[in-house]
Amino acid sequence: MNLQSNDFELFGLTPQFAQDRAAIDARWKDLQREAHPDKFAAQGAAAQRVAMQWSVRINEAYQRLKDPLKRAAYLCELHGAAVNAENNTAMPPEFLMQQMDWREALDDARSLADLDDLGLQVKMAMRDGLSKCEQFMDHQLDYLQAAQQVRALMFVERFERDVQARLDQIDTMERGQ
């Protein structure tokens, strides 16, 4: 156990996609209870620095482990199937068609209700995609397929963020200045 241990080792978890979120949260808090700089506030600068390093490392691992998509990408990487999203944007045509439909629906959305519907569709797509990830990684041990799935889901995630941004915008307009 050291700062170079991988996220799963650090959190004492089996390195697989399927995880219990509540267990990750609980472990995160246990670890921070030990390592957080606040626990060393009265013990000098050296202890503060070490605590800060550990605390940062624990938060970094937590960010990756708690988010299913980040966790999936990390697992692919650990198994030598880098996701490389920025250099690898080839997607199946039906996926691209769906993305275009969504974009259009987002542009046409005028009310919070329109967006709720779209948001639900995107959430479903994300859930389906993640269960495929689990199938590829935990059962078929096919990390190349999983990486392809992760790349597609990264588009879905970005779209989810755009829906959120639009929601904020409409909220501001609807309730008026």
Binding site: G12, D30, E34, P37, D38, Q43, D168
Partner: protein
């Protein structure tokens, strides 16, 4: 002069000595100091028994200052030299101050932080804040008849890096050892949560004099985890006062011609507002612009003309819930913080939205200081068995400027701190040997719409083809929410780093000078003070090391243990000398010499947690 007690290695001089630690709520309209005494947090009163200190400083002609109620009494007839709501100016330039034309002050524009011209020359908001903090520090020292070990200072959750840094500088300037900056809503949650033994998701709605914060927290077994935070660092009760003042003047057909008129109008409006929290109708009397204004304001009128302000807070509430990925029904309780939440229209808006009555069983003026005191007590090590842990977040995203004035986000908002994030960049020209980095904070995509925090340069990159260099930019945000940035070219190892500070805060040297100028009480020799401080630091370090050795000394090989013992003795011996520099050197040597030991102790702690033997549950 008391000499430090020297003990045999392995013995602590006074292991159960309590350290005096306080929590300070440095508010826009008023400030408070609190401390844990006999296991209970309480606000410390002044000699007249008042716990509130109006955050107002008046600079008098020919030197001298009035701080608090005295200054408040003078604000109407000497508005230019009586600085109120200085918190709004922390880490801000003149252009950032909305509604400045309605304020009576003489602003001085600076690229970083604005200045205020007074009869005592220009004052930085940091200095004004330091005057308020020093007053509270003296109050605490008088209460305990002892020096303070340290303080936790609260800041609005939505404060950006520049505002936090300015606050920390002010505390240093006031001679305070800052144990931690914590967010006001989080502090309120501590006071509230510990009082009520609550578990679950809570929303903290904090409307102060000049800032609005909304934080969503999850409370589990002593852990306060901030899920999301939002707000507006330039929206508060002051805005309600101004809206009402403008309206009153418009109705009465008078105009404020002088700074005095402006101040009088605002004071009258505030009195009116406060009355309306208790009744439906308030009378307003004031002499503005040589005319006697006298008429009645009905609460409906007041609510109508401030409805947009209230709506702005509710928009932030909705957005923050979305950021936390939660529905309003997930929220188990809403805690109201800040004097402005006494306004009935605020309580109604919050109750309507959440479908439940907000919790107001703690005094909204005191709750932040009380929470800060509880955290200070724990950080000072007075509550060794305490299992309180704060996991707070960064309120605004941090990024750097890239080609075309766009922001590349490096640390997204609402990420738990402390955190470090790295991103790789490259050069865009052949043979480029330097890279200018511009650090910004904010949610917008254009640099122009974000707050500029700092600029630094990475020089000495070996000439390479465009795109060949690999420059890793790392942002580190510490537990106070303060940023430092570094850049490293990976192939050559060339490095540059910056603690984000120079463009907004004051330099360390400037602070040292100010300390000498303003806080030397006439009868205290500066040198004697430095000596006392060096000795206190030395003792602090020696005590910390001793308790670490007591707990985990078995980790050390005999040789290493002997080395540390020698350094401890050197600290004790140096403390007997009259030379602060030598005491500091010995303290530093001990700090350095125990670094590896500290790392070993941390590893042990982590191992324990992983083995499921959490200290808190053993």
């Amino acid at each position: 002069m008391a000499l430090l007690q020297i003990s045999e290695p392995g013995q602590t001089p006074n292991p159960h000595q309590r350290r005096i630690a306080v929590g300070i709520d440095l508010g826009t309209t008023h400030s408070l100091v609190a401390s844990v005494r006999h296991g209970v947090a309480e606000c410390l009163p002044d000699a007249q028994g008042r716990v509130i200190l109006p955050s107002i400083v008046r600079y008098l002609e020919g030197g001298g200052r009035q701080i608090g109620f005295e200054a408040q009494a003078a604000s109407a007839h000497d508005p230019e030299n009586t600085i109120a709501s200085v918190k709004r100016f922390m880490g801000r330039s003149v252009n950032d101050v909305i509604g400045r034309e309605k304020l009576p002050y003489r602003f001085v524009d600076h690229p970083g932080m604005l200045g205020l011209r007074t009869v005592q020359g220009e004052k930085s908001p940091v200095e004004v804040s330091a005057d308020i903090l020093a007053t509270l520090r003296y109050r605490a020292e008088d209460t305990f008849n002892d020096d303070l070990y340290g303080a936790v200072i609260t800041v609005p959750a939505y404060f950006d890096d520049a505002q936090r840094q300015a606050t920390k500088d002010a505390a240093k300037l006031a001679g305070l050892n800052v144990l931690r900056l914590i967010n006001e809503p989080t502090a309120a949650a501590i006071a509230y949560g510990l009082d009520n033994a609550s578990e679950g998701v809570y929303a903290i709605y904090d409307l102060g004099g000049g800032t609005f914060d909304i934080s969503i927290l999850r409370l589990t077994k002593g852990v306060f985890e901030v899920l999301a935070t939002g707000g507006d660092s330039a929206l508060g009760g002051d805005d309600y006062d101004r809206a009402l003042a403008d309206w009153i003047m418009a109705q009465a057909g008078v105009r404020a011609k002088t700074p005095q008129d402006k101040a009088i109008a605002i004071i009258a409006a505030r009195a009116c507002k406060e009355e309306l929290s208790a009744t439906h109708c308030a009378a307003c009397h004031a002499c503005i612009g040589g005319e006697n204004v006298k008429f009645e304001v009905v609460s409906q009128q007041f609510e109508k003309l401030t409805a947009e302000l209230t709506q702005r807070t509710m928009r932030a509430v909705r957005k923050t819930l979305r950021d936390a990925n939660l529905d309003k029904n997930d929220v188990k309780g809403v805690v109201m913080v800040g004097g402005s939440t006494r306004m009935p229209q605020i309580q109604r808006a919050v109750a309507d939205f959440f479908g439940r009555m907000p919790l107001t069983n703690l005094n909204p003026d005191e709750v932040v200081a009380l929470g800060a005191a509880i955290q200070a007590n724990q950080l000072a090590g007075n509550n060794a068995g305490g299992d309180l842990l704060l996991l707070d977040v960064i309120p605004l995203s941090l990024g750097i400027e890239t080609m075309g004035g766009l922001v590349e986000r490096i640390v997204p908002r609402n990420e738990t701190i402390p955190t470090a994030k790295a991103q790789d960049f490259t050069t865009y020209k052949d043979g480029q040997t330097a890279l200018a980095l511009h650090v910004v904070q904010g949610e917008r995509d254009l640099v122009a719409d974000c707050r500029s925090l700092a600029r630094f340069e990475l020089r000495g990159i070996p000439p390479m083809a465009a795109g060949a260099a690999r420059i890793r930019v790392t942002f580190t945000v510490d537990a106070d929410g303060l940023l430092s940035a570094s850049a490293r070219e990976q192939l050559s190892g060339v490095e540059a780093r910056i603690d984000v500070k120079p463009s907004y805060g004051l330099g360390d040297e400037q602070i040292a000078n100010m300390l000498q100028d303003s806080f030397t009480k006439a009868d205290v020799d500066m040198k004697a003070r430095a000596l006392v401080e060096a000795r206190v630091d030395a003792e602090r370090m020696a005590l910390a090391t001793q308790s670490a050795l007591d707990a985990d000394g078995d980790l050390l090989a005999d040789l290493d243990r002997a080395g540390i013992d020698r350094l401890m003795v050197a600290v004790h011996v140096a403390s007997l000398l009259e030379d602060p520099a030598r005491i500091e050197a010995a303290t530093q040597a001990l700090a350095k010499g125990t670094e590896a030991f500290a790392a070993m102790r941390m590893n042990r702690g982590i191992q324990k947690a992983l083995a499921g033997k959490n200290i808190a549950t053993v």
